[in-house]
Symmetry: C2
Subunit: 416 residues, 2 copies
């Protein structure tokens, strides 16, 4: 029986220490985690094998699907990627304690806006157990504390990863205890959601249903993406080959990704409409020109297609049916491109490239904690920056507001 | 009977237009609002007089208190401040469409992070009707749309302000309709809170109870401050006169402000403890050295006082009982100052100055939509920046992710 209250309170106490940790200590912690993974490959594979064996039954029963089953597996390549990811994070600048700006309010009265970590972050993720290491390392590098809930199918792997992280942090000089915890069950989530005084942010990485459930059951701010209804609009002057390349990449390179395209909007005067349709069908993409609704996330090699009158109609359709995730235009008309990029109200808007670029690694963030379709705090792929906030530091020399209130003194408000 | 659904949906439609408005159009709108106020002073005073007359009954009944009654009144000075505030906002840079950074993901594949408005913002404010103009103008300048709910005591004044804003926006070329709306009742709030698909942010400016109620009854992100339990820690080496000046300013200059000090923590070796206490009492400040709890927001000329062993004990007390609003240290010891500024987990941390500086005007933001004790999105005094978010724009030249996935191509990730 896990005592969630203790975990949550301990995390909050640990935060007072992690929030001011030197970058060198945080990097040492990440280095130690990489070393632990390297040294314990055999144990990791064994633990993972137990999860995979158990999951075979779940697969037969239909409790999990083939894709989830595949994501559960940890192999040499995945561990190599994890270690590479940790190395990348070590190389990134400390996101914390950066001066965003400073200004003189008056002589000897200096206001500084300084980046800092958020606090205790709860992350709920699905079957893929390598997530545990990725998320823990982002939380460590950003000076936060984390309470992570992995998929129950990956319990053996997650438990071992959690143990290895504990050991690595224990062996890191001056790194506080209880910064990263693993919890297990649905009930643990429900308890977590009630600790809004201790947990500052919840990041659900999972189905629509999960995100919705969490938003409905907590006062804690939630960072997540609802769904990935991504569009590509093909303008009337778009080239045929490039259009086909981009759409095939956006739909077939990894159809179950949230940044895969779901709806094609094609200008009614596009001359290659039939050719495009045939080429897509030939590539194994199912086409629906009369979908029951326009906000379907197929997650499979299937596309809704609609003819539209103009770039304006395309924008209107996207703002109405899209999920604010990633939308692209293929066009040679610069004016239409700018219109699209400005008026489509999505976290990522692209011109002449695949929607699949919408990703923290591809954006150069080192890693991502998820993709946000929120309109506040962090939007789009969320890396280290999205795990920080700021505080104001005001350095005075025995200053009072009274003389400014009476007009005896006047603020300078000069950036320095 | 107000149709909240129409108001909310119309605001969302208006946002697609306000989000890309030129700064010149937004400034013209602010100029027109200032002009309307200037031209309609007499009507404003008349409307306000009706509210004041009605409020006299409420005051006698005890429905509102004297402070709320005073805040209701609009006089020449308040209108002058409003017009000055509009002028200041006009002079500020457009917070929208700023390039936060841009980088080459690869040749001819340019990623830009661009500031943009959030969307539809619901603001619930208390008796002070000048708030309507201040909040509306911040929302206009930041390219958002707003649904504002004022105090029912100020209904006549708010209704006239809303009418004048409507007229000013109507007379602004290319400014969309329905960008700013006023709603009236508690029931309107409850309806608003259910439109999480249309409203992107709720800002309650009012009592603790109101903020709590709103957080419990909506899935919309809420930006607000819980309470203002501000502390001043007086270190052992602090000078007597400066300490007294700062504390008097922080407690008595405007005792009901949320940034007024509520608790003094005094180093046990501070030699002037008794002198300080006597001087405060002489200045009419009531002292409680044995309060029933340490998180009381007096909002009056009253202070809790506690002796502490060290700066570390002070920090611990503040992180335990504070509300993360504003906390200050008075000290000549640089090491203790830095320790305090780094380890106190509050939105504003001050050294050797009054907590009352914690304010959007004093920070040079032109105006503030409120002070946030949130740990995400915006913290401390919130001005125009807190009403913006960002979007990613990716400009490609027919790029697909496949060659990066296979390793055929490698990202550059170079800031430009």
């Amino acid at each position: 029986m896990i005592d969630i209250e203790s975990i949550v309170k301990n995390a909050k106490n640990a935060f007072i220490k992690t929030m001011t940790l030197d970058n060198s200590i945080k990097n040492q912690a990440l280095f130690n985690i990489a070393k632990k993974i390297e040294q314990n490959k055999k144990r990791i594979f064994e633990a993972n094998q137990r999860d995979v064996e158990n999951a075979k039954t779940l697969l037969v029963e239909g409790t999990i699907n083939q894709a989830a089953f595949e994501r559960l597996k940890i192999n040499e390549a995945k561990l190599r990627d994890l270690i590479k990811g940790l190395d990348d994070l070590i190389k990134l600048d400390d996101p914390v304690n950066k001066t965003i700006w400073q200004k003189e309010l008056d002589d000897n009265l200096i206001l500084k806006k300084i980046s800092c970590p958020i606090g205790v972050i709860g992350v709920i993720f699905e079957a893929r157990p390598d997530c545990f290491i990725q998320i823990a390392s982002l939380i460590i590098k950003s000076g936060n504390c984390g309470i992570l809930k992995g998929g129950s199918e990956a319990m053996n792997t997650n438990t071992l990863f959690s143990l290895l992280v504990d050991e690595a942090l224990d062996e890191t000089k001056d790194f506080p205890k209880n910064a990263i915890s693993l919890v297990y069950s649905r009930e643990d989530i429900n308890k977590m959601l009630s600790y809004d005084e201790y947990i500052n942010l919840i990041i659900p990485r999972g189905s629509n249903k999960l995100v919705k459930y969490i938003k409905e059951n907590t006062k804690i701010p939630v960072l997540g993406h609802s769904s990935g209804i991504c569009h590509i609009f093909t303008d009337e002057n778009a080239d045929f080959n490039h259009t086909l390349d981009i759409i095939l990449d956006a739909k077939t390179q990894y159809p179950s990704a949230c940044n895969a395209v779901e709806t094609l909007l094609i200008h009614k005067n596009y001359p290659y409409f039939e050719n495009l349709k045939n080429a897509l069908i030939e590539a194994g993409v199912e086409i629906d020109e009369n979908p029951i609704q326009w906000d379907i996330e197929y997650g499979a090699k299937k596309l809704s297609i609609k003819l539209v009158d103009s770039v304006e109609t395309a924008i209107e359709h996207i703002n109405k049916y899209g999920s604010g995730h990633t939308d692209a235009i293929i066009s040679n008309n610069k004016e239409n491109i700018e219109k699209f990029m400005n008026y489509v109200d999505s976290s990522s808007v692209f011109s002449n490239c695949s929607t699949r670029f919408s990703d923290g690694f591809r954006y150069g963030f080192g890693a991502e904690v998820g993709i946000s379709t929120n309109k506040t705090h962090a939007r789009g792929p969320v890396g280290l920056d999205g795990l920080t906030i700021y505080k104001y530091k005001l350095y005075g020399k025995n200053d009072t507001v009274a003389p400014y209130a009476t007009g005896e003194k006047v603020f300078k408000h000069k950036y320095i």
